[in-house]
Symmetry: C2
Subunit: 322 residues, 2 copies
């Protein structure tokens, strides 16, 4: 007996089988295939975010598999929850797919989302599939908040600036790909950092009750530090020597190959998905790099050893600049 269903429904059913069905221990009572997903009661407050990756703007298929694209867009969205100190609960995926896009490729992209969702314990419980001229992946994710929240506007003069994770590697990796630098050793480390960013959920949890302000670095350390500065009404002073000490040796190595300054990729690179935080010195969590201080004032300055300062509050990637 032939089953009647529309091509869209057939595709959705295949995507759903890659993403998995809601289980009894999971967050969803009803998953993909109805008008909306149904979630079990979430105790307490929730953090909720949406993030979009567009082909040609946020990703480039020359250097990423479709599975990479699925996974990295998922981590990028959940990174916003990490920066709030939330524990991911569930996600919905909304895809815009060009006509004649092969279904096996779509399944590969969704397999990347599924893999990331398993890593992050954040099942995809629903979504949407639309036709359009260019491929894009929109992920909306819900997270549970326990006590406390990490916000952008709590930085105070006297705080230290902390970095959790490594800045600059993804930007260096992308440049290596663009220049065709052979992918081995330190180059491979940088390329992998760009290709497979990880949402730092555990670091976000560790900052709860410790940090005064937190943001995840997506557009660049300079721009994102500037967001804390603006929201909190403070000046963020990045101390060049400390920041350099926090850089991974692989970044330094690769910057030598590329003929770039490691510090400038660290400040303006973007796509790092590290957490940038401020807090009192006594509260600094283990593993957080101290890279500067918060002062009264405004903006973001990078302070060199000789005391000279550079304004870096616009250093990074702004989607609306170009």
């Amino acid at each position: 007996v032939k089953r009647r269903s529309t091509p869209e429904d057939t595709v959705v059913a295949r995507l759903a089988s890659v993403l998995g069905r809601p289980g009894p221990g999971g967050p969803a009572l009803l998953g993909i295939g109805d008008d909306a997903a149904i979630l079990k009661r979430i105790a307490g407050r929730t953090a909720w975010t949406v993030d979009t990756s567009v082909e040609g703007v946020h990703f480039d298929r020359r250097w990423l598999t479709l599975a990479d694209i699925g996974a990295r867009s998922f981590h990028a969205a959940v990174s916003d929850l990490a920066a709030m100190g939330a524990r991911p609960v569930a996600a919905l995926s909304s895809l815009i797919v060009p006509e004649h896009f092969p279904v096996p490729e779509l399944l590969e992209l969704v397999a990347g989302q599924a893999q990331a969702s398993r890593q992050l314990r954040c099942p995809v419980v629903g979504g949407n599939l639309s036709r359009g001229g260019e491929l894009s992946v929109t992920t909306t994710a819900l997270g549970a908040l326990g006590k406390g929240t990490l916000v952008r506007d709590g930085a105070r003069a006297g705080d230290e600036i902390w970095l959790l994770g490594d800045v600059g590697l993804p930007a260096a990796g992308l440049r290596c790909l663009a220049k065709g630098v052979p992918r081995r050793g330190a180059v491979a480390v940088c390329v992998d950092a760009w290709r497979s960013p990880k949402a730092r959920v555990r670091d976000g949890q560790r900052l709860l009750g410790r940090a005064h302000a937190v943001i995840d670095i997506s557009d660049g350390l300079g721009i994102d530090a500037g967001r804390i500065a603006t929201k909190s009404g403070v000046r963020m002073v990045l101390e060049g020597r400390r920041l350099e000490a926090a850089l991974r040796p692989e970044l330094v190595t690769v910057c030598r190959i590329l003929g770039e300054r490691a510090l400038s990729l660290a400040v303006a690179g973007g796509e790092d998905y590290c957490l940038l935080a401020t807090g009192a010195p006594r509260s600094r969590p283990r593993g957080a790099h101290r890279i500067g201080r918060v002062e009264r004032g405004r903006g973001v300055t990078l302070e060199a050893d000789d005391g000279s300062t550079t304004d870096v509050s616009a250093a990074g990637f702004d989607h609306f600049r170009g």
Copy 2:
């Protein structure tokens, strides 16, 4: 003193001012401007949906203002919550915007979203702004579920088929626009139905505890009835005479002008955002049109007065067909 902020942040701040700040009585503790929104505790289960409208696929700027596009995409998303019997709580908006898209036009689109969000008591508490090649609007909405849920898979043989709302008007309105039919009287009614769909939140609430299966009609009565049929493992029989009796006189008038059959626009038109439900005869809510019956079997048939039947399970707009 000049404030430092990136162009993206400036645009987001202007959009946020159109959308309004979270108030003390609202669902959000923290709105636009951090990594994620924070929602107050939601009692009970939640329904959660995401929906995307893409220029050239779901909307056409020849016949819609940007405010229309914002409002209708918002209603389309909330319609999914209505079809679950959920009360809308809050939404996030994710926009993909082409380069050089004028900010005043973006503000107009967002004003349409803001208006719909007020009508539906569903504030926009956050979102995302991305560059891309084509304009698209993705809305994710959360709704609170009380007792019971409306799903697609509960239809049973012996149920009546109910329609809440008017089918066919939007499709007729769109055809009038395409043919340049002067917009007055019944034509204006159809054009407005297409331009300004309304999510039927109250009808969804009234179906709780009464309906066995519910879906909102977005792709067409035939396709969407087919979804209930497939999910529930039943045959949906649309009774032509009853369906015709349920049609608005304006649709009949306009179809006469267009030289189209009212019944075929009703079955295959799409973009109706009515609710289609099944339930026991004694449970039919006031205002619901009885348009057919559920039988054992599969598929969707339209039954004419003379007893002849037509398979209409693929009648409507399938984004993945073309």
